[in-house]
């Protein structure tokens, strides 16, 4: 059947009262859970997946895709309001979102995040529908050497998110990589830094560190400065983005959307890496961004949010075409389809065209719903931080602890969050940037395990890193990324 026919069939499955209600319900659930630090998109989908077993496959997908998109979007709300990313993917949104909120522009930041999330998500769905098989063929070629190269490329971002002091940035980044080594080593299962404590052998939980590093540390800082002394009244006139704002974020949003979708399509690279890469690339390429990013530039928010939501459509590409999940949420989606006897993989497009197109149409609809609810809700979320600090911050502390415990039902994670809170507080006081630490935590383990696995595969030869053009290309990009600031500085001084 033709693509148009399939599209019509798919749309017919989506535009039913029940299916649409599931989309709306899924988005609302996802937005609620995503905005609570410690509750991730994966967690929410995992817990609710069993409710879909009684539905038709397409209906079940509508609910789960709604949650997926909604949660990934809503992680930006606490990132902007209280400097704590609701999901790991929103970590890069903190950098410009929170400074905006401090200036009383939380509503504007949320509105920009909403529009960027919509554009990112919708663009990725269109790319998914049009180019899925072609992109999947590139994504499948990603082997251990390519992942190592990608991680190195990601780590070069430390240079540009370090703020004023590169040395402090490197210290922060290396500290993150060091923390990520706790637990069994990924090749020989040798316990590192676990000090004989069994709970430590499974490592430090990323989300627990994020909760402490951002949420608890920010709270401590507020108390030090005197709670309530910096009460900012949020401006609520700008919760629908102005024409000028839209024009300002247009290019960066579109570029980040396309880049985010491609990164999301690589199995193992999800919204967290996508948003960091798009944020960094935006900083590099957008005019004037080098100085204004990090100080509350709406383009920074747009780059990060377009990037992480675009990764969702991207992640569906290998999931649907190859049966290889693009991230942890899509892994659960595969399980949800298998309950109905449908196995995503190379045969899916032939066997279930209506379902595949229903997923395309439904996921696009999800992002339309997010746009509507996001813009309607921006006003109310922004008012949330006008809540007196004497009540707000204790509530955030409690939520942080509960969130850390809820991760795995493990008390260790609570201690990790508290420890990270103290560490984050000390770093803030001493003016160490936190972003490099986040990068180190995310990318350190990827770099390590893929470096070691590559060398195991090659029998110790370094040739594996330059034999394939894809690997070499990414490593060259990393080198350029690292050297570019110096070249620019040198050329700047030449012409001056």
């Amino acid at each position: 059947m033709s693509a148009i026919g399939n599209l019509a069939q798919g749309a017919a499955l989506v535009f039913q009262p029940f299916a649409l209600a599931l989309i709306v319900g899924g988005v609302l659930i996802g937005m609620t859970m995503g905005s609570l630090p410690g509750m991730t998109a994966t967690m929410t989908v995992a817990v609710l997946v069993s409710f879909t077993f009684g539905m038709s496959p397409a209906e079940g997908m509508m609910l789960l895709l709604g949650i997926y998109g909604g949660a990934l979007y809503a992680g930006s709300i606490p990132a902007i309001l209280i400097r704590t990313p609701g999901t790991p993917s929103a970590a890069a949104t903190v950098f410009d979102g929170f400074p905006l909120a401090e200036r009383g522009l939380a509503g504007r930041a949320i509105a920009v995040a909403t529009v960027a999330s919509f554009v990112g998500g919708a663009t990725s769905v269109v790319l998914l529908a049009v180019l899925a098989p072609q992109i999947a063929n590139v994504a499948i070629e990603f082997g251990s050497a390519e992942y190592f190269a990608l991680a190195v490329f990601g780590l070069t971002i430390i240079a540009s998110v370090s703020g004023d002091s590169l040395v402090k940035g490197l210290i922060s980044g290396l500290l993150g990589m060091l923390l990520a080594t706790v637990g069994l080593d990924p090749v020989l299962a040798y316990p590192r830094f676990s000090f004989g404590v069994e709970a430590l052998s499974s490592g430090i939980q990323f989300i627990a560190v994020m909760i402490g590093l951002f949420g608890i540390a920010e709270g401590l800082l507020r108390y030090q400065r005197g709670i309530g002394s910096e009460q900012v009244t949020q401006e609520l006139s700008n919760v629908i983005p102005s024409r000028a704002d839209l024009a300002k974020i247009r290019n960066v949003t579109v570029g980040s959307s396309v880049a985010g979708a491609f990164i999301g399509a690589i199995p193992g690279a999800g919204g967290d890496i996508a948003s960091f890469v798009t944020y960094n690339e935006a900083k590099r390429w957008v005019e004037g961004a080098a100085s204004s990013f990090g100080d509350g530039d709406i383009r920074g928010v747009a780059a990060a949010e377009a990037g992480n939501n675009a990764s969702t459509g991207g992640a569906l590409i290998p999931t649907l075409t190859l049966g290889i999940p693009g991230d942890s949420v899509t892994a659960i989606l595969i399980g949800a389809l298998m309950v109905h006897g449908i196995r995503p993989g190379p045969g899916l497009f032939q066997d279930e065209p209506a379902l595949v197109y229903a997923i395309f149409v439904g996921f696009f609809t999800v992002y339309v719903v997010i746009l509507v609810f996001g813009l309607l809700g921006a006003r109310y979320w922004a008012q949330l931080i006008d809540f007196p600090g004497t009540y707000l911050w204790p509530a955030i502390f409690v939520l942080s602890i509960v969130g850390a415990f809820a991760l795995r039902g493990n008390v260790l994670d609570v201690w990790v969050a508290l420890g990270a809170g103290v560490l984050g507080y000390a770093m803030r006081v001493e003016d160490y940037p936190l972003a490099p630490m986040v990068l180190g935590l995310i990318l350190g383990p990827i770099a390590e395990v893929n470096l070691r696995r590559s060398l195991q595969l090659s029998g110790g030869s370094l040739e594996i890193f330059y034999a394939e053009p894809l690997t070499l290309g990414i490593l060259v990009l990393a080198a350029i990324s690292l050297l570019l600031p110096f070249v620019q500085a040198w050329r700047g001084s030449e012409s001056a």
Partner: protein
């Protein structure tokens, strides 16, 4: 890092970076809510009251989904209310330990997976089946050996002789060092006397991807995990490591049929803390046994590609102690428990 990923996890990569992001104990939050009603059985017929089933793997994974299915059907069949909590980490040891340390009154049931017989040998955690009174086994999934369709070997015999002629050249991917699929490949290699390189990945999906894109020569996983790539994709399955052929691939022989005396795979079952009164173990076994035999459970397992194997408390206990011995031998020969 969680080295030993969840066995036969067809839906969720179990280790690696995404362990940070992946689903984890929201079930525990549910458990918290359940605490007020928790307590020993009321007067009258056991099972009753709240019965917690501790799943040592993340919500949304294979073990979690089977446990939730058991819990919801068991709840329909008895007066008790069964609920699943996820206590993850330490390659399953966190959840095993929590279940083993619970009060031995039948109100806490541990979901036991093959890792209970491997992690003590791997030096990950000092916990074994001895901490539990077995209730029943409800699942077994054999390992299988899968290679690219265009590989220079099309049968298991040809694979073995290729590996004999090219010692150390054949690389076999698995879902994580020390995980059941790694140990399965190791036992196959030990039994056939071939020398292969085991390459660990962060879960089943990347291990499969590695053989699809040619980074390695073969992969070991459950048949369900590689099914999409074998049915419509570029891979072929040479052998399954079970006693019987897989329903998914009735044309693929078992190793035993080809005179390689290896049966190995992942399994799941239930146990209660050692010291739980026998009549409670029996009562739980009866409840779960009738769940196991229900059409609903059988079709759930088949739809999801989980193999159905059932053992009574006694049989399951004997099976687990033989597994414990067997894995000690495999791990010793592999020499991977350097951390212990």
């Amino acid at each position: 890092m969680d080295m030993v990923g969840e066995a036969n996890d067809t839906t969720l990569e179990s280790t690696g970076r995404r362990r940070f992001l992946k689903a984890a104990g929201v079930g525990s939050a549910v458990g918290l809510v359940g605490i007020p009603g928790l307590g020993a059985a009321q007067d009258g017929e056991f099972p009753s009251g709240d019965i917690e089933m501790i799943c040592p793997w993340a919500a949304g994974g294979g073990t979690d989904r089977t446990a939730r299915q058991l819990a919801s059907l068991a709840g329909e069949q008895s007066d008790a209310s069964f609920f699943v909590t996820n206590q993850t980490g330490g390659s399953g040891s966190a959840g095993f330990r929590a279940a083993a340390n619970a009060e031995p009154n039948g109100q806490t049931v541990g979901v036991l997976t093959v890792e209970i017989c491997t992690i003590s040998h791997l030096g990950i955690a000092n916990i074994t089946p001895d901490a539990f009174a077995p209730v029943m086994q409800y699942n077994f999934d054999p390992a299988s050996l899968t290679v690219p369709e265009d590989a220079p070997y099309g049968t298991i015999e040809e694979f073995v002789s290729y590996a004999e002629e090219n010692p150390g050249e054949v690389r076999i991917s698995n879902s994580g060092i020390g995980a059941i699929w790694h140990l399965s490949a190791a036992q196959m290699a030990q039994a056939t006397g071939i020398e292969v390189e085991h390459v660990g990945y962060d879960g089943g999906a990347p291990a499969t991807q590695a053989v699809v894109n040619g980074e390695v020569e073969a992969t070991t996983a459950s048949p369900a995990e590689v099914a999409p790539q074998v049915q419509d994709g570029p891979l072929q399955m040479l052998a399954v490591f079970g006693e019987e052929r897989s329903d998914l691939f009735p044309d693929v022989p078992t190793l035993q049929e080809r005179d390689i005396d290896v049966t190995i795979g992942a399994w799941r079952g239930l146990g209660v803390p050692e010291g739980t009164p026998d009549e409670r173990v029996q009562a739980l076994n009866e409840t779960f046994q009738s769940v196991y035999e229900s059409d609903e459970f059988q079709s759930f397992m088949e739809d999801n590609g989980f193999g159905l194997v059932n053992r009574s408390p006694e049989e399951y206990g004997e099976f687990m102690s033989s597994e414990l011995d067997r894995f000690e031998g495999i791990v010793d020969e592999l020499d991977i428990q350097e951390g212990s």
